[in-house]
C-alpha cells in the first residue's frame, strides 16, 4: 500500500514538474538582454522585449497592494482585536465568500466600477481588481498573525493606561509586523500571476506607460497575447515571459519566508 501511495503522489506531482521543466528550458533559450530593455516589436520585426509589461506589472501590483493591504489589515484587526463587535461575524463570512471568488469575477466588477465610469480601460481598474482579490487573503493572514501576539503584551499596554487604539497601534501591530508583511507578500504572489481580471481592466498596451488612468501592459497579459498568437517569435517570448513571471512570484514567496524567519 505504501508503494501505491508513493506512486500516486508521484503521478500527481509529475505533470507539475513537467510544466516547470518546460518553462525553464524554453524560457532560458529565449531570454536575452533586449527582452528586458525593449518594448514589444511589431510582428515580423526581430528583437523586441517586454519592458513595458515588466514596468506595468510592478505599477499595477504596487497599487493593488495598497488597496488589498489597507482594507485587509483593517478587517484582520477587527476580527482579532474586536472579535465581539457585531460586525465581526459579517466581516468573517463575507471575507470567506470573497476568498472563494473566481478572479475573472473581480475583473468584471472592476470593469463596472472603474472602466465604465471612466469610459476607458486603465491600470487603475486592473489594480482595483487585483486589490479586491488580495483583501480576503490579507484579512485571514493578518488575523492569524495578530492571534500569535501574547495577551500579556496587550495587558501590559492596558496597565499603562493606554487607550485600546493606542495599544493596537503601538504594541500589537509592531509585534505582529513580520507576520502581517509575510501575509501581504504571499497575497501579492497569489494575484501577481492573474491575467483574467486584467484582460477586462488594464487591457494591455505594447508601449511603455506610467499613466495609471490609461491602459497598461502586464506580464501575464502579454504572455497570454503571445501564447495564442500564430507567430513563432512571439511563442518564444511567451516562454521567456512565463519564466520571468514564475521567478518573480517565486522571489516574492521566498521574500515572505525570509521575513518570517528573521524573527525566529
Amino acid at each position: 500500500m505504501a508503494a501505491l501511495v508513493a506512486l500516486g503522489a508521484l503521478a500527481a506531482l509529475l505533470p507539475l514538474f513537467l510544466v516547470l521543466g518546460y518553462v525553464v528550458r524554453e524560457g532560458l533559450g529565449a531570454i536575452d538582454l533586449a527582452f528586458f530593455t525593449r518594448d514589444p516589436a511589431p510582428v515580423g520585426q526581430p528583437g523586441g522585449g517586454v519592458r513595458s509589461a515588466i514596468v506595468g506589472t510592478l505599477i499595477i501590483d504596487l497599487m493593488a497592494s495598497v488597496i488589498g493591504v489597507t482594507v485587509g489589515v483593517g478587517a484582520g484587526l477587527l476580527l482579532s482585536e474586536y472579535g465581539h463587535h457585531p460586525m465581526a461575524p459579517v466581516v468573517r463570512l463575507v471575507g470567506d465568500v470573497l476568498g472563494g471568488m473566481p478572479a475573472i469575477i473581480m475583473g468584471l466588477v472592476a470593469y463596472q466600477l472603474v472602466v465604465r465610469p471612466m469610459r476607458r480601460f486603465s491600470a487603475l481598474a486592473g489594480s482595483v481588481a487585483l486589490g479586491f482579490l488580495m483583501i480576503p487573503i490579507v484579512t485571514r493572514s493578518t488575523e492569524s498573525a495578530l492571534a500569535l501576539v501574547p495577551r500579556e503584551l496587550r495587558e501590559a499596554g492596558m496597565a499603562l493606561g493606554l487607550p485600546r487604539w493606542r495599544v493596537i497601534v503601538s504594541v500589537v501591530l509592531p509585534a505582529a509586523r513580520d507576520g502581517i508583511v509575510t501575509g501581504a507578500l504571499l497575497a501579492l504572489a497569489r494575484v501577481a500571476g492573474e491575467a483574467a481580471p486584467l484582460l477586462l481592466t488594464a487591457f494591455g498596451n505594447p508601449y511603455l506607460s506610467f499613466d495609471p488612468t490609461r491602459p497598461m501592459d502586464s506580464l501575464p497579459l502579454r504572455l497570454f497575447v503571445y501564447a495564442i498568437s500564430p507567430f513563432q517569435e512571439w511563442h518564444a517570448q511567451a516562454w521567456a515571459a512565463s519564466l520571468l513571471l514564475v521567478l518573480m512570484i517565486l522571489a516574492t514567496t521566498l521574500a515572505a519566508r525570509w521575513v518570517i524567519r528573521q524573527r525566529i
Binding site: A6, L13, G74, L77, M101, E194, S242
Partner: protein
C-alpha cells in the same frame, strides 16, 4: 479601523451589486431561468443569449477534473503526512505548495504547446481504434483535434491537485496522535491505521479540500480558455470543443460591441458568482457536518 473592515463588506456588496446591475439588461430580457436554460448564444444575427452551453461546459469540465484529481491529491497528502520520512515529506509538501503558485496562464501556455499535441496523438489512436472496433462510441468521442474538452479537463485536474492536497494534508495533520497510537497498539498495519482511523477522522477537512478545488476549477479562466476550443454549442463529445462560463467572458468581453451582448456576459459572471457562493456555503456546511465533534475549523 471599523471603516477599513467595512471595506471588506463594501467590496462584497459592490461585487454583488455591480454584477447584478451590469447583467440586469440581459436578465430582464430573458429572465434568470430563461437565460440559464437558453441553448442559443448568438451575438451576431439573432442577438439571443442563453448561457446553458457554458453552464454545461463549466460543470462538465470541473467535475471530470475533480474525479481525476481527488485520488492522486489524497495520495500526495497521505504520502506527506503518513508515509514519507519527515525531511522528504517536508520537501514534497513545500514543492506542492510552490506548484499551486504557478499562474494559470503558464499552465495554459504549457497546455497549448505540450499537452494539446500529446492529447491529439492519444485521441487519434483512440478514435482509430473505436472506428475499427466500436463504432457506436464515435458520436461520444468527437473530432480528435487535441484542442477541446479533454485537454481542458486534464489541465484543470493537474492545476487543482495542489489545492486538494494542501487542505487534506492540514486535515490529516490535525488527527490526534493518540488516535493512531491506539490502533498501532492493537497491532494494526500502517494502511489499516490510515483507513480506519486517519481518513474517517479527517474526512470533513478532506471533503472541504475537494470542494475548495471544485470552486477553483469552476472559476478557472485562462488555462481553460487557451485549450478548450471555445464554441457556442453545448459540448456533447469528449474530444470536441466547448466553452465555460469563465472562458466565454475572457474571450468575448473586450470584443463585445453590443450592449445586450456585454450585459449578457456580465450576467454570465453573475451566475458564476452565485455558483461560487453556493459552493462555498456547501463547503462550510459539509465541514461542520462531517467533522467529529469539536474539531470543525
Amino acid at each position: 479601523m471599523l471603516l477599513l473592515a467595512g471595506g471588506v463588506v463594501l467590496a462584497a456588496a459592490l461585487t454583488a451589486y455591480h454584477l447584478y446591475a451590469g447583467g440586469s439588461q440581459a436578465l430582464r430580457r430573458f429572465g434568470l431561468v430563461g437565460f440559464l436554460t437558453g441553448t442559443r448564444w448568438d451575438p451576431a444575427l439573432e442577438m439571443r443569449f442563453g448561457a446553458l452551453p457554458f453552464v454545461v461546459g463549466t460543470l462538465l469540465t470541473s467535475f471530470l477534473a475533480l474525479a481525476l484529481s481527488v485520488l492522486p491529491a489524497l495520495a500526495v497528502a497521505l504520502f506527506v503526512t503518513e508515509y514519507a520520512p519527515p525531511p522528504l515529506g517536508g520537501v514534497v509538501a513545500y514543492l506542492a505548495d510552490l506548484l499551486a503558485a504557478v499562474p494559470s496562464v503558464v499552465y495554459g501556455l504549457w497546455g497549448i504547446f505540450v499537452l494539446v499535441p500529446a492529447v491529439r496523438q492519444g485521441e487519434l489512436a483512440v478514435y482509430l481504434w473505436a472506428a475499427d472496433r466500436a463504432p457506436w462510441l464515435l458520436p461520444w468521442l468527437g473530432p480528435p483535434a487535441g484542442i477541446g474538452v479533454l485537454s481542458a479537463v486534464l489541465v484543470l485536474a493537474i492545476m487543482i491537485v495542489p489545492f486538494t492536497a494542501s487542505v487534506a494534508r492540514d486535515a490529516i495533520r490535525q488527527v490526534p496522535v493518540e488516535q493512531r497510537e491506539a490502533l498501532y497498539a492493537l497491532g494494526a498495519t500502517r494502511w489499516e491505521v490510515v483507513r480506519t482511523s486517519v481518513l474517517p477522522y479527517a474526512r470533513g477537512g478532506i471533503m472541504a479540500g475537494v470542494i475548495l478545488a471544485l470552486a477553483r476549477a469552476l472559476g478557472e479562466t485562462m488555462a481553460v480558455t487557451m485549450v478548450i476550443g471555445n464554441t457556442h454549442q453545448i459540448p456533447t463529445t469528449l474530444f470536441g470543443p466547448g466553452a465555460t462560463m469563465a472562458s466565454v467572458i475572457a474571450n468575448e468581453f473586450t470584443e463585445a460591441v453590443d450592449d445586450l451582448h456585454l450585459s449578457s456576459l456580465v450576467a454570465v459572471g453573475f451566475c458564476l458568482f452565485l455558483l461560487a457562493v453556493a459552493v462555498h456555503l456547501a463547503a462550510r456546511w459539509l465541514l461542520r457536518r462531517l467533522s467529529p465533534g469539536g474539531t470543525a475549523a
